[in-house]
Symmetry: C2
Subunit: 394 residues, 2 copies
């Protein structure tokens, strides 16, 4: 039994596999092993919260991919991948988190049995889930193989989105708008932050009319006041306070596709420096959107953003965005292009980014961001349509 | 500025550090680098969703730990760790997900500058977040160092919980009860699963009177009918169906501490084989709890569980539990002991486990589980107090 309902057409999976095989050939890779759950899903459809144990897919140049994982998760693979049953293989449970044996011993045996024991094997060396020990075990079990660093090889193939993918990202964007609208509307001083987070999750998961909500790859981030200086603090049991800003960094998620959106809410009268920062930031966003065009480079967006910020005396010291799409925890970015000085990647139609110039200063923070799509012609399209400003409740 | 409100007393952090230093000495480790966010938090208090970039803590035998991470996350470290400001160090943002440079180059320089460039350095070789590339970069940057595999070295120190930790786990257990109660009460055939998940998140995050809810390390799992054969499928947009079982695998989370709990709900009249499985499973759980005593071994629980299941003709083919406590995604287990045949770890008072004998058969599933505490005397205490049975709604 292969999956009865796949999220994408067979043509779409064929397109992805073909792109990947061309990249393998260019890199001189005979066999590619992928442990990144996003890459696994993108190529095979596999979907499940099983990435806390070793698993992966093997990509061949001349036969269908093989899903490989823990025995109990093979049932999930049968239900979600497009390949036929015999392309799903597994290792016995006593290899799971064992102090005596390693699942990569089983994978190595599979690789040998397929005739690739002395071939060039691509591995995602800098990726969550593929550990140092996994690499060392493969190295020791396959002494005749040549290992090639294939970090982000598939991630790069994901940069330009297909029409089918864009349908999903747009649905995620509708959910993002709903989450932000709800947060801005409901938040009042004295409200417990957990009550607000609960409502934000409710919006995220119920979704919108034609799109149910999946879990986003990052939990909602909404630090307040001085804590908003720290971009990655999560919530706590305290109440929302007057005379403080809270930013909302969230993403709707539809079939694992994301469209992050951040807005900031101030209770009371914002200090002058924050209003000035808002003005410079919005100006920078608009300047960045204007140059976010096919043919320009990723760094052009960063440079356009930086000019008004510099004039306002603000040094962000951080990149201003990253590609988005299909993702699993812990990151909704694709880990390829960075919107920052020095990244000369040429923008192509169909690329999607979170244009994310968060300001995290010593004791305050401000986030106003956009998920964007690079178009054939003209400036970037913002995937969400919400006022680009600091929201204020007196 | 160090954190104004720490989740634990200074004595508790001292206890943990002391235990870890003894383990380092036993393993012949001069300097320990930890990238596991759970180990980072357990030893320093650090809390933030920043583990999608390289970061970690350095543990010395004779000076306070150093938090090391991305520049923008240093603000979060200042606000959450017990160490003083100068023990928080960072790398510049252009190292983040760069194709040209690696954060471990900066860490290596820090290690050299502290005088450990030719010492024995412990690394978590088989851990999420510490990648193969991180290891290879350290190896190349520190050619005179000797690297020691310190996988799970700190995780093992976490096995026996302190009184302070047990307070948190018991709070998490109250939240777990609330989530399960709500799910069992609200679920009816025809209800959209996302509406149910939204309510489950609401219960999880609002928490109970004296405990707000944090995000659990695993999202709620609640596959139905044939899909319940696959333990790690997440939800979708479909409606709950009659004549099918849905299991709820969830955990409340308080200050990152977990107490997972699973129950199963059947709409209609369950088939005879499922009632027989329920009977054997409950019998096995009771037999397991009875031998889950200080002085017995982890495998004794697995063997006690297996006997009634075997009599009912059920071969699970999977381990039956793992230690629980402080955790970050993607796993709420501690990845040390496994409740399974062959694991002869002796049980000690204060150890906590998710006793998790899920049944995932070819086209159905049944989960009835308990989070347990090993006591000084007598059988294990179940941390949640809910009927141990298959729930049925006619």
């Amino acid at each position: 039994m292969s999956a009865s309902v796949l999220p994408f057409t067979n043509q779409e999976y064929e397109r992805r596999l073909k792109k990947t095989r061309i990249a393998m050939e260019t890199a001189g890779i005979d066999l590619l092993f992928l442990e990144d759950p996003s890459n696994m899903a993108w190529l095979t459809g596999y979907d499940g919260w099983s990435f806390y144990v070793h698993q992966g897919v093997l990509i061949f140049t001349d036969e269908d991919p093989i899903w490989w994982g823990r025995r109990q998760d093979a049932n999930g693979a049968h239900r979600t991948v497009w390949m036929s049953d015999e392309r799903v293989t597994f290792y016995p449970d006593h290899f799971v988190q064992s102090t005596e044996r390693h699942p990569m011993q089983v994978l190595a045996e599979l690789i040998r049995s397929k005739g690739y024991g002395a071939k060039r094997i691509g591995l995602e060396l800098d990726n969550y889930y593929f550990s140092a020990k996994a690499y060392l075990t493969l190295q020791s079990e396959l002494p005749d193989a040549a290992f090639v660093d294939a970090t982000a090889l598939v991630n790069w193939q994901r940069s330009v989105k297909s029409e089918e993918e864009l349908v999903y990202i747009r649905k995620a964007a509708r959910i993002s708008e709903k989450i932000i609208d709800g947060a801005l509307e409901r938040a009042v001083p004295g409200m417990k932050k957990v009550d607000l987070v609960a409502e934000m999750y409710s919006d995220a998961i119920r979704g919108v009319e034609d799109a149910w909500g999946d879990y986003p790859a990052i939990v909602p981030l909404l630090p307040s006041g001085s804590d908003a200086a720290a971009p990655h603090l999560t919530w706590d049991g305290r109440e929302l306070q007057s005379d403080a800003a809270t930013f909302f960094e969230i993403s709707g998620c539809y079939r694992r596709y994301h469209a992050p959106l951040c807005r900031t809410l101030y209770f009371g009268k914002p200090p002058e420096f924050m209003l000035e920062a808002e003005k410079a930031l919005v100006e920078g966003l608009e300047a960045g959107l204007e140059v976010a065009r096919a043919g320009n480079r990723a760094c052009d967006i960063a440079l356009a953003l930086a000019a008004p910020l510099e004039r306002a005396g603000i040094d962000r010291g951080a990149r201003a965005g990253y590609p988005i799409g299909l993702s699993y925890p812990p990151d909704w970015g694709e880990r390829t292009i960075s919107i920052r000085e020095g990244d000369e990647t040429v923008l192509e139609p169909g690329m999607t980014f979170h244009f994310m110039p968060g300001l995290w200063m010593d004791d305050w923070g401000l986030e106003i961001t956009e998920s964007i799509l690079i178009r054939e012609n003209g400036a970037a399209e913002t995937l969400c349509d919400r006022p680009r400003k600091l929201h204020i409740k007196d």
